[in-house]
């Protein structure tokens, strides 16, 4: 019996064991399913094309351009003329060979990048010859393109993500791009869109052999959005041209909306150098330029003393606090003694009697020193209260804090308060005379050009402003940002008096050069003393040239602040530039070619080199 049944029983037992094993492998253990997927399925990301950026008039600021990566599959490479290929690519033969060698050591079956981001010129030659080189092919990818090389700091740039970016947001994978500065960074989520996923079947060499399950699990790309900025491309470009060979910043705002019309920082750079193969090299050059600081956005980040334009605010505060009226006047003796032995100079003629109007258009230091002291001393000896009231008024103009605009960089500026002086001079150790420099916008106050432009817009609006911003609309997107009207603490009736003064500045005062036929321009010049440490010694440099302005007087369409570093006095550079900007924006053409040429061709480069010459130098010449 045993003999008969031995083989059948063994067969039966074997079958039972096998089926038991199958139950274990196929029915009870799901990890094999995952293992097989990990084995055979590859997930590839599909990227939407990064969103375009347009100006307020739908003119293109940023688009994309194709670049080509030269790829190779080492096992397919046949012997070829390395010299010819290296010349076509514009790299050395040694470099090319090294790249191929490292590709081979990575994988002989998988494609590797031999040379990334090949420029258009090299690509044209390469396209013709690529057929000669077996195993090589070109893979298209895309980088940013700037049809007009302007607004580089404003627009920002993109670069590959680093470890920190990936830690912060696990959306990003190695090798992907992220907006690194400016609009590119702030509106990254719109511009980027959402990448899709495609699942492919791969073989044991990791080669893709087709789509997985006919794309059942694929996730579609969610489109990147195109942005419309508030920037006026022509005005931006014009401003950049005007500031060439100078250092400084211009910020122009549309007062009725808070839309920033242009944000100019000089010197700047051509944004096209921060794309493609030379990117990191060029970036290093820009970042290491610690003198000109091309990556430093002077419009947003430079904190200067506001200078004489600040007098308009002091006038408004004095009116609001009712410490003066329009008739209040002071006699100026080319300046005045504000304390014993302490004399503040003024360029007024001997014996000029200034009220509010003439005080503004003559920019009389004596007048403003006195009304400022009245503000501080309004509560008798309690200077702290006066100081804090003054501080609160200024804060209502958006000074001393971030404005909340939609760009990733900025500075708070500084408006001193009683605590600040109590700290420096001890409580009771200071009087209005101690801090009198604030009257004329020197002293401890610091503002950024965008803050200056913003308070100019608030004056133009007679008492309110909208948060300055750079994004006008996202195309095909329902999100829209509503900006609330921010009222200043000054009643609107007081503005007309100051605005009249600013109008007279241009009509008959310090900025007659800014006058434009047919446009009522209101402005205020500024000349700001500034210092720099040279070899540890505080050295005074040529004054900064400043101008704030808005126009037209009764229906303001543009408000702006112009800073030209070491430009000497306000009427020399800043006022003409501001005036040209206004003319350009409102009339679209500039008729005053002589002035335009003077500004375009004018250079302050010699001035900037002076402190580094090692020789003693003369300022304000």
């Amino acid at each position: 019996m045993i003999r008969r049944f031995f083989l059948p029983v063994v067969t039966l037992i074997t079958a039972f064991i096998f089926i038991g094993r199958l139950v274990g492998l196929q029915l009870l253990n799901s990890s094999y399913k995952l293992l097989s997927d990990g084995n055979a399925v590859i997930e590839n990301a599909v990227y939407p094309e990064r969103g375009y950026i347009y100006d307020r008039n739908h003119k293109l600021l940023v688009s994309n351009q194709p670049v080509y990566d030269l790829m190779a599959i080492p096992e397919n490479i046949t012997p070829f003329d390395t010299l010819e290929l290296s010349q076509t690519l514009g790299v050395s033969k040694v470099e090319l060979k090294e790249q191929i060698r490292s590709a081979r050591s990575f994988s002989v079956k998988l494609p590797s990048v031999i040379l990334g981001k090949i420029s258009k010129e090299h690509n044209a030659h390469l396209q013709e010859k690529i057929w000669k080189y077996r195993g090589f092919y070109l893979k298209k990818s895309s980088v940013r393109n700037y049809p007009t090389p302007i607004a580089s700091n404003l627009l920002g740039y993109v670069s590959e993500v680093n470890k920190n970016d990936m830690k912060k947001d696990n959306y990003y994978q190695l090798g992907e791009l992220i907006g690194r500065q400016g609009i590119e960074k702030y509106y990254e989520s719109f511009l980027r869109g959402t990448k899709g996923k495609k699942f492919y079947q791969k073989d044991r060499f990791n080669r893709i052999i087709g789509s997985y399950e006919k794309g059942k699990y694929d996730e579609p790309v969610k489109g990147a959005k195109n942005l419309i900025l508030t920037i006026d491309k022509e005005l931006q470009q014009y401003g950049e041209d005007l500031l060439q060979n100078k250092r400084g910043g211009i910020v122009a705002i549309e007062p009725q909306t808070g839309e920033v019309l242009s944000l100019i920082s000089a010197p700047s750079y051509n944004p096209n150098i921060l794309v493609g193969r030379e990117r990191s090299k060029n970036y290093r050059i820009l970042a290491l330029d610690t003198l000109a600081k091309p990556l430093f956005d002077r419009g947003l980040q430079a904190q200067y003393a506001p200078g004489s334009p600040f007098k308009t605010l002091n006038a408004l505060i004095a009116l609001q606090e009712e410490v003066i009226d329009v008739k209040t006047s002071y006699l100026c003796q080319k300046g005045h003694y504000y304390a014993r032995g302490m004399f503040m100079e003024c360029h007024c003629k001997m014996g000029t009697n200034n009220n509010l109007l003439s005080g503004i258009y003559r920019s009389c230091n004596t007048y403003f020193a006195n009304i400022y002291r009245r503000i501080i001393d309004r509560s008798g000896n309690n200077v702290e209260e006066g100081m804090n009231i003054w501080n609160e008024h200024l804060k209502s103009f958006g000074l001393g804090n971030y404005l909340g605009y939609d760009l990733p960089v900025g500075k708070k500026g500084f408006i001193p308060d009683a605590d600040y002086y109590n700290y420096w001079y001890k409580k009771g150790g200071w009087k209005s005379a101690t801090v009198v420099s604030n009257a004329i916008g020197q002293g401890e106050i610091l503002t950024t050009p965008i803050q200056m432009a913003n308070f100019t817009a608030a004056i133009a609006n007679r008492g309110f402003f909208f948060q300055p911003h750079f994004m006008k609309a996202v195309i095909n997107d329902s999100t829209s940002q509503v900006y609330e009207k921010k009222k200043t603490s000054i009643d609107s009736i007081h503005f007309e008096k100051v605005i009249e003064g600013m109008y007279q500045v241009v009509e008959r005062g310090t900025a007659k050069i800014a006058k434009i036929k047919g446009i009522e321009v209101c402005g205020k010049t500024g000349t700001v003393e500034n210092f720099m440490k040279i070899d540890g010694v505080k050295t005074q440099l040529t004054d900064h040239s400043i101008f704030i302005a808005f126009a037209p007087k009764n229906d303001p369409k543009i408000a702006l602040a112009v800073y030209v570093e070491n430009g000497y006095w306000g009427g020399r550079w800043a006022a003409p530039i501001a005036s040209l900007m206004i003319e350009k924006y409102l009339n679209r053409v500039v008729k005053r070619k002589w002035l335009e040429n003077r500004m375009l061709n004018g250079s302050l480069m010699e001035e900037y080199e002076k402190p580094y010459s090692g020789q003693p130098f003369v300022i304000n010449e």
Partner: protein, 419 residues
């Protein structure tokens, strides 16, 4: 053709055969699938060759059914002789593929004589054992049969193709059925057990276990029969330990590393999923990922990605497991079971000794292939490269197993005629 054979033929077995070869063609198609494939009849592609061999095999099967059964008994010696000549001829004329000279190249087709020798040896063994003077109790008969088996075995080992040689172990079932002493079964099983124990456990422990078992057996038997002597037990202990020691020695000093690795992986002593264990691991992943119903025809990711080496030949079962799941793979196991049962059952009914022994040999051969091949795909048996009958890619294999099965069908159909 004898018209009556159509009535007497076991159509159920034919149906099982047809099911298995169809499963084979479908899975080989999937395992060798490529985008450039134009059709199943493209002779330049593996699937085309396989299809061609299948058609040819079925044709040959029909011819075999038409032949008088007595022919095969007379043909046995000549067939065996031709088989041996073919094996010897490989040394000067054979084609070498991945180290083994196992193939003849004839008009673009590869022919593997070791597959055909399985049939001729089965006929030969049957012929030898059915001679009236044969008696498996006699050492002369044993030596004679052993010699006839050893000759093709050695020729195949020398190719070298030890896997294919190993299947001659199938004849143990046949011999045992025909009266081989139980002692051989006990020795066969003990040797197998001792082999694996020795390799799994440290030598000292093995000696301890063997000693304990043998003395336990001795005292048990002593109680039943007080007259029993102790010396046979000492001798078996001595041989056991000697065997265990030599297995250890052979394993570590004679085996090559790849052999050691293959065995260690089955013993679970080593986990190496990149090197030697790669095939087995990938095969397990493929089968395991199939789940209940499988991923569907041509949908197997492991299969498409060629993750399992030799998937269309030795590892074809992993394609079945991946694409047809538990349902498909257990069906294949059940079909093989049914086939083996049927062949054994029909063999037992044979009154003609030659035909009974032959059919039993066929059952044994199918079983041993089934056992080793599927066991290997499931990671339960060391990697031994032999095909899964009727299913694996390989013209010679499908040809040999078809001939083998159809001779059995012929014998079965003519059972009543030839007393």
């Amino acid at each position: 053709m004898n018209k009556n054979i159509l009535y007497r033929l076991d159509w159920w077995l034919v149906l099982i055969y047809l099911l298995l070869v169809c499963i084979g063609i479908v899975n080989v198609y999937s395992a060798t699938y490529s985008e450039s494939l134009t059709g199943i009849n493209d002779i330049s592609q593996p699937i085309g060759k396989q299809f061609f061999f299948l058609i040819f095999s079925v044709f040959l099967g029909i011819v075999i059914l038409a032949i008088n059964s007595k022919f095969f008994e007379q043909f046995a010696s000549i067939g065996y002789f031709i088989g041996i000549i073919l094996l010897i001829g490989l040394f000067p004329f054979g084609k070498t593929v991945s180290g083994a000279t196992s193939w003849y190249n004839i008009a673009g087709m590869s022919l593997q004589p070791s597959e055909l020798v399985k049939v001729t040896t089965a006929l030969m063994v049957a012929s030898l054992l059915s001679k009236f003077q044969s008696d498996l109790k006699k050492p002369a008969t044993l030596l004679k049969i052993g010699g006839y088996l050893l000759l093709p075995f050695l020729l195949i080992v020398l190719q070298p193709d030890p896997g294919s040689a190993l299947v001659f172990g199938a004849f143990f079932f046949c011999l045992f059925r025909e009266g081989l002493n139980y002692a051989y079964l006990v020795i066969f099983l003990s040797v197998l057990a001792l082999f694996f124990i020795t390799l799994s456990l440290p030598f000292g422990l093995v000696v301890g276990i063997i000693s304990m078992l043998i003395f336990l057996l001795f005292f048990l038997l002593k109680n039943l029969n007080p007259k029993i002597k102790i010396w046979p037990f000492f001798i078996s202990l001595f041989f056991s330990i000697g065997f265990s020691f030599s297995v250890d020695y052979i394993f570590n000093n004679v085996f090559e590393q790849r052999h050691r690795d293959r065995i260690n992986i089955v013993l679970g002593k080593e986990v190496d999923n990149q090197g030697v264990g790669y095939n087995t691991n990938q095969s397990k992943i493929a089968i395991g990922s199939g789940g209940l119903k499988g991923k569907g025809f041509l949908e197997g990711t492991q299969t498409k990605g060629d993750f399992v080496p030799e998937q269309h030949t030795d590892y074809i079962f992993s394609t079945v497991g991946e694409e047809w799941g538990f349902v498909g793979s257990s069906s294949v196991i059940l079909l093989f079971c049914l086939m083996i049962f049927k062949v054994i059952y029909q063999a037992e009914k044979q009154t003609n000794k030659f035909r009974r022994i032959y059919s039993y040999g066929v059952a044994g051969l199918i079983f041993i292939h089934f056992f080793i091949n599927i066991g290997m795909s499931l990671g339960m048996v060391p990697t031994i490269g032999i095909p899964l009958p009727f299913i694996s890619y390989g013209g010679s294999s499908i040809l040999a197993f078809t001939i083998m099965l159809f001779i059995h069908l012929n014998f079965d159909a003519n059972r009543l005629n030839d007393w």
